[in-house]
Symmetry: C2
Subunit: 330 residues, 2 copies
Amino acid sequence: VYSQHGAWCYYAVQMPLAEKDLIARIRRMAKSRPSGGVRLTIGDDCAVLRVKAGHELLVTTDFTLEGTHFRGGWHSAESVGHRCLCRGLSDIAAMGGEPLAAFLSLALPSDLPQSWVDGFLKGFLALAKRHKVALAGGDVAEARNGVAADVVLTGIVPTGNAITRSGARAGDVIYATGALGGSAAILRRMFAGESITANSKAERKHFFPEPCLAVGRYLRERKLATAMIDISDGLSTDLAHICEESSVGAVVNQFLLPVARGASLNDALHGGEDYELLFTAKKSARVPVEIAGVPVTEIGWVTKEKRVMITDVASKPRKLETKGWEHFTK
Amino acid sequence: VYSQHGAWCYYAVQMPLAEKDLIARIRRMAKSRPSGGVRLTIGDDCAVLRVKAGHELLVTTDFTLEGTHFRGGWHSAESVGHRCLCRGLSDIAAMGGEPLAAFLSLALPSDLPQSWVDGFLKGFLALAKRHKVALAGGDVAEARNGVAADVVLTGIVPTGNAITRSGARAGDVIYATGALGGSAAILRRMFAGESITANSKAERKHFFPEPCLAVGRYLRERKLATAMIDISDGLSTDLAHICEESSVGAVVNQFLLPVARGASLNDALHGGEDYELLFTAKKSARVPVEIAGVPVTEIGWVTKEKRVMITDVASKPRKLETKGWEHFTK
């Protein structure tokens, strides 16, 4: 874990700072100090966290790698920092949890400008601040090739109340928050050679997505969801995860899908990085059409047959291929 | 976090498995299932951990990168897996904690043989089993260049009893466990072109170091240590960390240093990766000369003057330069 060091005196330097100065800088930018559940932060062998009585701890980790999860020419440093943290916050949201503390492990090439590192931290810490998440530790190392960041998010949830992937039952209704495919549509345009920056709301959806923490919390507090996952790899893949863990199947009605503006049906079905929530609820549950300002849309139903299908109502339901993002596949 | 998938059926393949099969394989090898403090393990958006009443949670993260922390030609896959986990366990030991659950984020080049991945997991899981640590989650991703592993260790410690770096006071005695410099001596020989495998006890010290969990626990239970750190970057650097966090200085008596067989004084002072413990205790404390089978040696004392010095008794104490491992320094 980060260790604290003495005074630092670098500024606007070109190269990444020496390890101890970089850590001191992170510590200063993070305004890291014990408060709430964080009893001991950056500066020791471990961070010390206190979990509120009657609560359990949530832990999730997500790797972000240059070339795989972002490209230097496409994503600003601020966007990369933001997206790194968003992935973990979205996992906490998908359990109905409250974020507690984040840990950032950062491997940097030695020829990376310090301004990139500062931009990354700016994006990361701005999102952390908005959700009151402390940066409580991490690690820094020299990377031979490309930036690698591993972000650990811890959170809390009342004991026994975490919303898992395994509680969906036949007859439940399937819901998705927000609109789907928007992030993939932007990515598709960049692959086609277009240069895009985060100006419009649609573009911010890709570069600065917002984790649905308030929605997750609402569903957990009112015990509305029987199962939940965040849509990070794509609807088809993430719905398959719920079905596998719950030993059920599903039918998606393609006419009900909330396709994002500028996105295709394909983007909405298989595009990743939307960070919306996908959940199931009993038919009798009263699920609002909007939660915390986010639209909630019924998109299908859970079946006993362990297959994930899609229907256009007019023809027979057909198999919904899981074509979301998966590593190590050609 | 890892997601669970259906059955897997691959074996002895050449390439890393597709993501879902790799995760299924990790899950199977880890024999991951809820038990003790781990309520929900690999297979959901987050793992769910329960912290025993009256305890706090410890969290530490450590990056291990090919080329920086290990070399494919020098370290076997088993050794890399073992060392990855040892780093985190050693941090838990340095707080006087008990390990709870580990999280493994693994980025792998797509041309890496699956046998390497299996060897890595074998080394990782054998050490985990010995210390009853559950592998409760993580992430896998495709790396463009070289293996990257980030290991998160969680542990518990009775509330308020974690041994930090900041409790050393002038007049305290400084102790080190085991022998120092042994790991660096092996590394020095490999840099000189020697091919070394983990046959002797001295060689195992580099390739399969043992975290001092029992010593850390003993010191915490008896409240013997005022401050503690593990020696991962080298004695000179790690002692400086204690001094900075405690706002004190130190004098090391070089004739008292427990130099490992085959190691030089320089190796013992500045060599990293010994994973021994360095701690301070009140002069009046009765510190045994051996704890849990590990020798404990008095090596110096804490001073009011905020300088880290070394003495050979005959001449005047001189400044002990911090020359342990630091990233991004030339």
